[in-house]
């Protein structure tokens, strides 16, 4: 029977094996102590494998996974976060924050007018808070190059 816990346990074991394998490849220094830099990671890997085995042999009840709509929403929000992370520097704070906050707000409760207000309000409010309240000078409302 395929259960989330079993799949997860298998992933844990594979990851732990990879971790141990890369621990074995570690360069050692001539200045080493009796334990060296490999033993502790190898020990961790072994414990993780045991945990993975227990999860495969004695899985919990099946996880209650969200339906396809919720999954798509979560995927979209993760994409929003990644794009937001990349756009903070080139586009400044205000525009990306308005879009990201508005979109996230929409994903939680879709009410367009409220979502737009939430996006703009959060962007402006947080900018004032960070820039003047907390004195974060690295934060730029719009990029310097745009001001000409």
């Amino acid at each position: 029977m395929l259960r989330s816990d079993r799949v997860f346990g298998l992933v844990v074991i594979l990851a732990a094996l990879a971790y141990i394998a890369s621990a074995l490849q570690l360069q050692t220094s001539f200045l080493s102590d009796p334990m060296g830099s490999k033993s502790f990671p190898i020990g961790l890997g072994v414990v993780a494998i045991l945990c993975g085995l227990v999860m495969i042999l004695r899985p919990d009840e099946e996880t209650d996974w969200p339906g396809p709509v919720a999954l798509i929403k979560i995927a979209i929000s993760v994409v929003v976060m990644v794009v937001y992370a990349y756009s903070l520097k080139p586009f400044g704070f205000l525009i990306p924050t308005t879009l990201a906050a508005g979109l996230l707000s929409y994903l939680i409760t879709p009410r367009i007018v409220f979502n737009v207000i939430a996006g703009v309000g959060l962007a402006v409010g947080l900018y004032l808070l960070f820039r003047y309240g907390l004195g974060l000078e690295t934060l730029q409302a719009i990029p310097k190059s745009w001001r000409g």
């Binding site: 989330s4 009796p34 334990m35 929403k73 939680i108 960070f130």
Partner: protein, 501 residues
């Protein structure tokens, strides 16, 4: 009297207008954080750390601010438990059992006041306990060598995995994962890079604030998106708030007993406030028996978990300050704060930086009175704040997390890493892997490995050195018992199924 002299030193720091101001601000923010469902003490304090850092506060001020937030969150958690039947944070779960029925019976004001007073009694007694116990424990901690420290870290992981989770294998895996993340970066002993994959960003290791904010704050937002923002609305109208002296008088014994139970639970490394409120409620329920009417909205059923919860929150500071081993999820976050401020908790903290420790203790005493005022006569303000819809709150949490991390490091890499940890935290919470041991592992990993390796250097590779002192043997036994015992106790002590703190 050493304690009085130290306390005088503490008050001389804490009573400065600026520190006092920070304590009040912290209490206010903390109560809000606690009251809002979806923003618990761990993730609330986590997203505030980068901001405190960029404010440039000195160690004492930063610590006063964030521990006030911590205490405040423990008070605030009860507000939504009582009014919405949704715990504002995980330790407040037990308060829903009697708090909500009492509010439904038309006495929401009384429930808020009783729980506020119980919170005060618990937190006040715990702060006194902290004052008395911490210096004693720090004297014992001087005798700790690397072998004892290694066993102590193990004890923290074992009790956290055993008592505070549903599945030992998953909790143990979480701890191991955290420890493994801590091995990324330069090896302390040899200076060689490990597990960096040639990535220069990873040479310094993973900054613990990144997984902290990712696992706690970002994953919470994803959980909310999945739940489709079931908007919380106030079902209960709060009329005039009066003080029910008779109920408070009658449940005073409960408050005192629960404070003691909670404090002990808090001092245990890894157990924390949730366990404190749980044990306090269960023990009072069995003392009251069938006639006590627990679960139907009786004052004692509200007083017990709140006193236990707040007292455990204070107790959890004892191992964190004296040994550097946090007693709960939120104190793990506070430990992260101390490390960011370059303060090493441990026995030497009490002799080297008395102004930090005693300033903190004095500030906690003051914060308690501030919180009592905020949470009894002024409780209505926080009830209004509960009306903030999640579709405004959670995007706000997300943006604060991003800016906080961005302001610390200014690198995209950390923002992406944080998002990655957010997704991981979401999956783990769905599958039932607790996230607190991961944080604890990242925080303690380097120390734990160093302790083990130093022990091996001292003994020239002799493993039996780890069990060579009575303290070490005691800690090992406690660790093994703490991990195994819950397997047998679990069917008897059935915990409610939400574990976040």
């Amino acid at each position: 009297m050493d304690i009085l002299a130290n306390l005088a030193l503490g008050f001389s720091i804490a009573l400065s207008p600026y520190t006092l101001f920070l304590a009040v601000v912290g209490c206010f923010i903390g109560t809000i954080i606690g009251a809002l469902p979806g923003l618990g003490p761990s993730n609330g304090v986590a997203i505030l750390i980068p901001l405190t850092f960029s404010l440039g506060l000195d160690a004492t001020s930063a610590l006063v601010l964030l521990t006030s937030v911590y205490y405040g969150a423990m008070y605030g958690g009860r507000i939504s438990s009582i009014l919405l039947n949704i715990p504002g944070d995980e330790p407040a779960l037990m308060t829903t059992l009697d708090g909500y029925p009492m509010a439904k019976n038309g006495r929401p004001g009384d429930a808020l006041v009783i729980s506020g007073v119980a919170s005060f009694v618990g937190a006040f007694l715990a702060t006194i306990g902290l004052m008395l116990l911490a210096p004693l424990l720090s004297r014992v901690a001087y005798q700790f060598g690397p072998a004892e420290y290694f066993a102590l870290y193990l004890l923290a992981f074992c009790t956290l995995g055993g008592l505070a989770s549903q599945n030992q294998a998953k909790a143990a895996f979480a701890a191991v994962l955290g420890l493994a993340i801590a091995t990324i970066g330069l090896d302390n002993q040899t200076g060689m890079p490990r597990f960096t994959g040639g990535n220069l960003h990873l040479m310094d290791g993973v900054d613990f604030l990144v997984p902290l904010v990712g696992l706690f704050a970002v994953s919470e937002v994803l959980i909310y998106i999945e739940k489709q923002g079931k908007d919380s609305s106030l079902g209960i109208k709060l009329e005039k708030v009066t003080i029910p002296f008779r109920d408070i008088g009658r449940s005073f014994g409960t408050m005192l007993r629960s404070s003691v139970v909670g404090f002990v639970a808090g001092v245990l490394p890894g157990a924390g406030a949730s366990l404190g409120s749980f044990l306090a409620y269960m023990s009072e329920k069995s003392i009251a028996g069938e006639k006590g009417g627990f679960g139907t909205g009786v004052p004692r059923g509200i007083a017990a978990p709140e006193a236990g919860n707040n007292s455990a929150a204070g107790g959890a500071l004892v191992p964190m300050l004296t040994l550097g081993v946090p007693g709960s999820g939120t104190t793990a976050v506070l430990l992260a704060l101390l490390m960011t401020l370059n303060i090493t908790p441990g026995p030497t903290l009490f002799t080297d930086r008395p102004e930090v420790v005693w300033g903190l203790i004095a500030a906690l005493l003051i914060a308690n009175f501030v919180l009592l005022i905020m949470n009894v006569p002024m409780v209505k303000i926080f009830v209004y704040i509960l009306a903030v819809p999640p579709s405004l709150l959670l995007p706000g949490v997300m943006m604060i997390s991003f800016v906080g991390i961005f302001s610390l490091t200014g690198s995209y890499f950390d923002l992406l890493l944080m998002t990655g940890f957010g997704v991981m935290g979401y999956l783990f919470r769905k599958i039932g892997v607790p996230t607190v041991p991961i944080i604890l592992g990242i925080l303690l990993g380097k120390h734990m490995e160093d302790a083990l390796r130093r022990a091996m250097i001292l003994s020239d590779g002799e493993v039996s050195y780890l069990f060579s002192s009575p303290i070490a043997i005691g800690l090992w036994i406690a660790a093994i018992a703490g991990f195994i015992a819950p397997m047998f106790l679990r069917p008897i002590l059935k915990r409610p199924d939400r574990v976040i703190d």
